[in-house]
Symmetry: C2
């Protein structure tokens, strides 16, 4: 089976090197906490006000302020800042935490459309940081699409059933 | 629903502060790359040679060298070192990547037993680092148990079906 990150690169058109160029950039210290909170606020303002009802409804049961906090805390941590996300919620576990949502390619593109707009409307993000962030987001969005597709496949793989059946321990 | 990290803390007995005390310790620079590769090698040597067949068989279809590399690259990255794991495999996505395996409480305890032994048999790990690593491992093991249980629940939640049904877009 093709690995998650290979699918993500193929579908997003972003190589893994470009996606994780953020790790050689220290964007938290370049941009600062306030920029990330503003970016996530701009992003979710657009999402919760989206004309496309099918996309807006994905977030219908989620609290907007919580969504903003979850996102900027994750971004701050992932971009080299303090580990705000893990201190409050533990491991990011990106695929599992997106499991309740229908993460299709169409949803990924809509998410990326809003993020592109949010990046453009957030002041103090230089062009180089913007490119690095967008590559990270584009790759990650399709990584999640791949993760959701894998989940659906896993439910019916004979290999998994066979592995479970061969366990001799009843409590296992 | 109780959050993943609350379940992990309750079941493991490790608070989230203790679990992520690693983030204030910079263990990569304290211990160095070689210590992490040795730790993971010691760990998987024990796992692949476990007397308990039910536990050993979980890893039966996985390549031992790959398992060692995946683990030490993740640990190096998570403990403040270079992002070796993401550069090769993308996001850790811990729960999703453990989805093919039966991550029960019994398996978590057996995993932790071997890791405790591996830590003791790896030289140059001071007691304070050992405690921090073991708290991280214990909390994470039960975080994964909680993640797997959530997966099983999610398959049958009416909320999810309802959300899928209400989508008006056929391609969605």
């Amino acid at each position: 089976m093709q690995s998650l990150q290979k699918k993500a690169s193929e579908w997003s058109g972003v190589s893994i090197d470009d996606a994780f160029a953020i790790d050689n950039a220290d964007l938290f210290h370049t941009l600062g906490l306030q920029t990330f909170t503003t970016l996530s606020t701009n992003f979710y303002n657009r999402v919760y006000d989206d004309d496309e009802e099918w996309f807006r409804s994905i977030f219908g049961n989620s609290d907007k302020e919580k969504a903003i906090q979850n996102q900027y805390e994750f971004l701050v941590q992932r971009m080299g800042g303090p580990p705000l996300y893990s201190q409050r919620r533990g491991h990011p576990a990106l695929i599992a935490r997106h499991r309740p949502f229908p993460v299709t390619r169409e949803a990924a593109e809509r998410w990326l459309f809003h993020m592109g707009q949010a990046l453009d409307s957030t002041s103090d993000i230089d062009d180089d940081s913007k490119i690095k962030l967008m590559n990270f987001f584009r790759h990650t969005a399709y990584f999640l699409v791949a993760g959701v597709e894998q989940k659906d496949q896993n439910l019916h793989t004979p290999g998994k059933d066979a592995a479970q059946k061969q366990h001799p321990c009843k409590n296992f």
